[in-house]
């Protein structure tokens, strides 16, 4: 209880960071092409100068805000601002076409806030328990856990399993450049002195996620593929009636819990949760035929679920150090840059950061409600922001951010190079998030493997002796099998 009060006091003293995070999250979520992960990357140049706890609550605010923000463009221009809002388009846009865009966004806002609050409570109550269990892990269990974490690479790629895995292994290859973590000997530097320290995470993240997106947007803009909001559209009344809300509470509660549960499982994320919640809402509806034609439950279900995943995805991130989805993967990278190592030790060594995160995450939901309401009113302005000004400023911020951490022009060049790589990866169906997962989790897996084998005097069976390790290997196999099945389904659907 004392920890909660301390956390609350800290968050209230740093509430401006949370407000900025939520506000920025709503804006980047609403603009198609930008997402929560890109938002975190763009904040990195500022985060590195902040107190780690303040940086973490700012990122959490951005994460929650972007989830709701995605629904704004989904409803108004039928283009999901974030992948998680794809299911919201199905009923949100038809309702907007009927002149009830405000009501659609109002329901999305209330459902998002409810999903966020439920997931925040799950985070607060479940994370310490899981961290307590994780404290008992030895190197072999950690190695198995990292193998499980690495299987997320298969699922974060949207187009091809081979390309997703190849992207992840490419990330691990990059992470091996520099020094051997156990012996300290030089490896894969090819005689280039600069490579002794390896590739710095900051320019790689900025390049792969932000600069590549600027290049991608330039291409889309030039080819006329960017949808702009028509000037004539009206938002209409925002808040739904009490009667309408009474009919939605079961859907919102069920979808929030479903979203939180899915969020906890690594390799899932908001897109899967929102479509599952949508299907369940349709299955249990008395009027399933009205889905896809502007049914409010068809908006409430995916929005409650995708916001539910936010707190859920934070649980494996802060307790085990493995991300639940793409945004938390980027957040993990950002945390490592600012000197925070997520995992069970965070709870015992830095309780201040954990308490601030818990309270910040909960408060962020109420800010999403308030700021979300304002953003609905201003949604036309957000969606009409001139791209010819927005992206050049983002580009400048990216290059400055790459320079800022090490005061090095080399890092700026590195960010540009990875930006070009990221652009082509995206264009040809490879996965930038998988690269990041490889870069982050690959070295940890290597270190834990090395530790386990040193302790066991080179006996490899140590990796398979613990029931926990075997459980993680089973999860890893299931995760890959699930991704494989998912890709086959998509392939059949396309054929």
């Amino acid at each position: 209880m004392t920890g909660a009060i301390e956390g609350l006091v800290y968050v209230l003293a740093h509430i401006h960071f949370l407000i900025i995070g939520v506000g920025a999250g709503i804006v980047v979520g609403a603009i198609p092409g930008l997402s929560g992960s890109t938002g975190i990357i763009l904040m990195l140049p500022f985060l590195i100068y902040m107190d780690p706890a303040a940086a973490l609550i700012m990122m959490s605010g951005l994460f929650c805000g972007s989830m709701f923000g995605g629904s704004i463009s989904a409803v108004l221009i039928s283009t999901p601002g974030t992948p998680s809002a794809a299911a919201t388009v199905l009923d949100g846009y038809p309702l907007a076409r009927k002149g009830q865009a405000g009501k659609a966004l109002g329901v999305a806002l209330i459902a998002s806030t409810s999903g966020g609050i439920i997931s925040a409570l799950c985070l607060i109550f479940l994370a310490p328990q899981l961290a307590g269990i994780a404290l008992k892990f030895g190197p072999s269990e950690y190695f198995a856990l990292m193998i499980f974490g690495l299987t997320i690479m298969a699922s974060v790629s949207s187009s091809s399993l081979t390309k997703g895995l190849l992207s992840g292994f490419f990330g691990i290859l990059i992470s091996m450049v520099g020094l051997n973590p156990t012996l300290g000997t030089e490896r894969f530097t090819f005689g280039i002195t600069r490579l002794l320290t390896g590739f710095s995470m900051m320019p790689v993240l900025i390049g792969l996620f932000a600069i590549s997106e600027v290049l991608n947007q330039l291409e889309l803009l030039n080819e006329g593929k960017i949808v702009r909001i028509p000037h004539t559209d009206k938002i209409g009344a925002i808040l739904p009636s009490w009667k309408e809300m009474k009919g939605l509470w079961k859907v919102i509660l069920g979808s929030s819990l479903l979203g939180t549960l899915i969020g906890i499982i690594p390799a899932t994320g908001g897109s899967i949760a929102s479509f599952m919640a949508y299907n369940e809402a349709k299955r249990f509806s008395k009027d399933p035929d009205s889905f896809g034609k502007g049914n409010l439950a068809g908006i409430a279900a995916p929005e409650a679920a995708n916001n539910g995943t936010t707190g859920g995805a934070m649980i494996p991130l802060i307790t085990l150090g493995i991300p639940g989805d793409v945004v938390t993967a980027v957040m993990l990278g950002a945390l490592m840059i600012i000197g925070v190592q997520p995992g069970p030790l965070l709870f015992s060594q830095s309780p201040r950061i954990v308490n601030a995160l818990f309270m910040g995450f909960l408060l962020a939901q109420f800010l999403v409600l308030g700021m979300g309401y304002l953003s609905i009113k201003a949604s036309h302005h957000i969606l009409r922001v001139p791209l010819g000004i927005l992206y050049p400023i983002i580009l400048c911020l990216c290059l400055l951010g790459a320079f800022a951490l090490g005061n090095s022009v080399y890092d700026v060049v590195l960010a540009v190079v990875f930006g070009v790589i990221g652009y082509f990866m995206k264009k040809y169906g490879f996965s930038a998030p998988a690269v990041i997962l490889g870069i982050i989790l690959g070295p940890i897996a290597e270190q834990e493997l090395s530790r386990a084998l040193i302790i066991s005097h080179g006996d490899w069976t140590v990796l398979f002796r613990s029931p926990l390790s075997i459980m993680f290997y089973v999860f890893a196999v299931l995760s890959v099998a699930y991704s494989l099945r998912d890709f086959r389904k998509k392939k059949h659907a396309r054929a």
Partner: protein, 155 residues
């Protein structure tokens, strides 16, 4: 897309071969894991996946596997290609001239170039945005975060 898959597979296979060559000079140790074991496992996996991608690409070209489940697109060409090359070149020129000419001088040019490439045509807006953004970011990074942004010899 088959051709692109084959090219991408060849590139990643070449990268893994290069990395494998790098493991040949690793020292040997009797403590814990051999320094080459983990990297070689990763390299072989990368190579195997590259081979799978090449095979998928070949099958796709022959039309045996139908659509290969990949996003569309060849190399960017025409006007789009030119714009992309100009933007990347602009960023690289910015990086290489940053220390020589200083942040204050080169940043407005980069922003102005990007604005033009993104279709902005109003000169006053381009000048105002590029100068004001550069100045605001300078004040923020230099004044608030104390980042020593590069100055030129005459600035």
């Amino acid at each position: 897309m088959g051709k692109i898959d084959i090219i991408c597979g060849l590139i990643t296979a070449a990268v893994s071969a290069l990395f494998f060559a790098g493991t040949l000079s690793f020292p040997k140790t009797s403590i814990g894991i051999n320094p080459g074991t983990y990297p070689r496992f990763i390299i072989f996996s990368t190579f195997a996946l590259s081979a799978v991608l090449i095979i998928q690409g070949v099958l796709s070209l022959r039309g045996k596997s139908g659509r290969n489940g990949t996003a569309a697109g060849g190399l960017p060409s025409g006007r789009t290609g030119i714009l992309l090359v100009l933007l990347v070149a602009g960023m690289l020129v910015y990086a290489f001239t940053l220390e020589l000419l200083g942040y204050i001088l080169v940043t407005p040019f980069l922003i102005a170039l990007a604005m033009v490439l993104f279709g902005e045509r109003k000169p006053l807006r381009i000048i105002l945005v590029s100068v004001l953004t550069s100045a605001a970011l300078y004040l923020l990074f230099r004044g608030v975060f104390r980042v020593p942004l590069p100055h030129s010899w005459f600035w």
